[in-house]
Point group: C3
Chain length 343, copies 3
């Protein structure tokens, strides 16, 4: 789609141009890296310095932005969203709707693969699988028996999907993700500390519009289903334990870990490297700041932080005071001296 004239871009995003001359844009770029020929945007004052130094051929700015130089601007109500809308246009033009089944793939017995689906090179699909319209399964993926994948999903290379997994529509699974591996469930023989594996005969169910990050792992349930509800977004290297339920529109950042049998509500925000201990419940609209360790169920809406996780205000207050611990300890020492006491 690129190159495009600045005037055409202004039209596409219904923005106001501050120049009459016109130029070609070759690529989109971040404000700190933009050079001649680039289009960028400026909407966050934390990047004021990068903005001042910016040599982009055109900068999209918010309408309250006061223009004091003669660089080229497109003025819109929301510069960030306008920039993203151009990305969306470029991305749409680049997308190809591949269909067909590579001859190098291996498809099991009794599968229903839509004519509108794409099965990439060296993909292995087991028996009794369903792959529906416009779903793309890229190279070197392994899909076991009895897997049902709906419409318009993108499954990137080297993904492993275990038997009986069910995936809805419009999901994206990034490379290296593992869906449906055995839950970490064992019976311990207390006499010698040895373990006997408990077979996991449940599965994983992923609803619609779900994104699953690279090398993320989601374990199958013992019985029943590990369930990822509509609209959930999961970043890279996240662990979701067996029997978990992750509620609608919940977001889980990188390297977070949800131990087995947790029930996470709707619109929950879980920060990176946060851990939930097993069998917990988180209510709706709860946010957990990164690196927290949640050791008890939380019902009340709000923001939480720390290991163990506490309401953010409490955690921050404790943290602030703990920075004064050396002074407090010294105060106590001085008071004791003053009072001439040995406690």
């Amino acid at each position: 789609m690129l190159p495009l004239k600045i005037s055409e871009i202004a039209n596409l995003i219904k923005g106001q141009l501050n120049i009459s001359a016109d130029l070609f844009i070759n690529k989109l770029n971040r404000i700190e890296n933009s050079i001649e020929g680039d289009l960028t945007f400026y909407s966050d004052e934390r990047f004021k310095k990068q903005f001042d130094d910016c040599n982009a051929s055109c900068i999209i700015v918010n309408e309250n932005h006061i223009i004091i130089d003669n660089r080229n601007y497109i003025v819109v109500p929301n510069a960030y969203l306008a920039f993203i809308s151009i990305i969306n246009l470029i991305n749409q033009n680049n997308s190809t709707n591949k269909t067909g089944i590579s001859k190098t793939s291996v498809i099991g017995e009794n599968c229903k693969i839509s004519n509108l689906a794409y099965i990439g090179h060296n993909v292995v699909i087991g028996n009794n699988c369903i792959i529906s319209d416009y779903t793309q399964i890229h190279s070197n993926c392994s899909i076991a028996d009895n897997v049902n994948i709906g419409n318009s999903n993108i499954i990137y290379p080297n993904v492993s999907i275990y038997s009986n997994t069910i995936i809805g529509d419009n999901c994206i699974i990034q490379s290296g993700a593992v869906i449906g591996s055995d839950g970490f469930g064992f019976v311990e023989d207390k006499s010698n500390g040895s373990f006997t594996k408990i077979p996991h005969i449940g599965n994983v169910v992923i609803k619609n519009n779900v994104e699953i990050g690279a090398n993320t792992t989601i374990d199958r349930s013992l019985v029943g289903s590990t369930l990822i509800e509509n609209g959930v977004i999961i970043d890279n290297l996240v662990q979701i334990g067996h029997n978990c339920v992750i509620g609608e529109n919940t977001a889980i950042a990188g390297q977070a870990g949800i131990a087995g049998s947790c029930k996470v509500g709707k619109r929950v925000r879980i920060g990176g490297q946060t851990a939930l201990a097993g069998h917990l419940e988180l209510g709706d609209d709860i946010s957990i700041i990164g690196q927290s360790g949640v050791s008890k169920s939380i019902k009340e809406k709000g923001v939480y932080f720390g290991t163990p996780a506490k309401p953010q205000r409490e955690a921050f207050r404790i943290e602030a005071i703990s920075r004064n611990l050396p002074e407090l300890a010294n105060d106590i020492k001085q008071i004791k001296k003053l009072l001439n006491v040995k406690l």
Copy 2:
């Protein structure tokens, strides 16, 4: 194997049935999700509410459970273990002992692959490998040269096993795991901070009855072997550094990280997201609670928590008091006021 009559199930687990009528069970389910046709179990009073609301066609309960309604029960000494024994039966019936080598796999020179082994589609095996009886290697796995894999192992899709790895019997390796990658060892040039890689010519040795989780990584040793002893169970996304020795029947939960050259004892329990710094020793029968950071060797049996890890009782006591820090700080302020001192 399913459907089965309740009476047949009661026979299989040697339980007492509280009804004379009989019904068919279609599937096993967790208590909170069970519907008509399901079999479930109840053994933990934390799930009392779910039990009260449960519509399963049959519930397995412990023998001390007092039955006060006319739902269908099977009474046994241990409801949880009875339920698992049924899972085991179902799983056994579902298992197929695949054998044979897929034509789409690539086998190197001078390999000994048992006639009773199964090599899945698009598997790549290097030179001089041994794959013994009843071992299953599933699709898209890559196994390098000189790898020796014993009997009755299951290696799920997309696993990477580097050269010279030795695996015993009855192990399970979940998808995406990487066994034998290079250890993170470099010589630093202090003059400019640059690194020169140290080749790792050691290997990984995995003994018998070991489980390795999805996307877990185990690095090869510099020289000698990174060693995983009998009966070790490792969850998903765990990192085991080069030269580590993990003792018999030790369990390591998800996203834990063991830095290089650690020696972990027998029957150790390492919680999720816990880290061990390099070159540490943990004695036998030590438990580390999740998200801890172990910075020194620990010899004494017991439970430890925190970063840096301390005995659990000490860590919990400090944590409890730290919650009162705002009050303590205020106390000190008031005392100073009272004493009219500026310290």
Copy 3:
């Protein structure tokens, strides 16, 4: 290359031999595991006990080491570096410079694959890719369209490289790594908490002499490039978010996570399981101890620790005093009693 006589090894490392007799060395080993026929080294007094018990056929020692027994020694200025130089020799002799393209690989249109490159079995390469001299791409890797890989790289099995990735020379990418997956960027609809994916049309650029660990993930940029500079070493299971820049000769240990748009300086050392929040800058020569959580930019050279990260000295002082919290709390209680006050 092995077996080798001790005298030959002494020659190779220009060391002094304390014996006149000669023996064959069969393998290199760590000091605690060495048996007859092994060569090992001793340079760190923490391993004094293992040294005393060591039955290796030869031990390399530092020149200040006083020999008090009649075991076989080679004396050199730096025993560790001498040992590594032998490893390097062995490794060099073992390396094979494979070239050629496996018939089981699938190569897209318009690719330039060097005659001196090696493309392993079941590798899938997209359209318009360049693979240069002496680069090895091992089995089951998936490389998307428009990827440019320079000279002398080793890419181990099951690696996924997304479209438009650029990799320089002399890099090593361990198995299961994912390069160029979509950044975790979404527009949130505040009315219902749902997310709309922002397409990521940027890429990943990896310069020269970079090592990337097993199952590590590096996300592509929204626009522009996620950039890994020369000489960066990254351990296993690390997450690098979209738009990050990682400076020259920086080292990142296992399971660390760098959130999106961070700018990390040169010669930075990031400990295992450490997290950086998004949009931070770390200056040059900064070290972050493992399991820290960096929540603000850090400019000043030095060592930092904790969540949130503080200068090491401050963090350790607070930690030391917090261990006395039970005593401090008791002191305050006693003082209040003494003063007969209720605060």
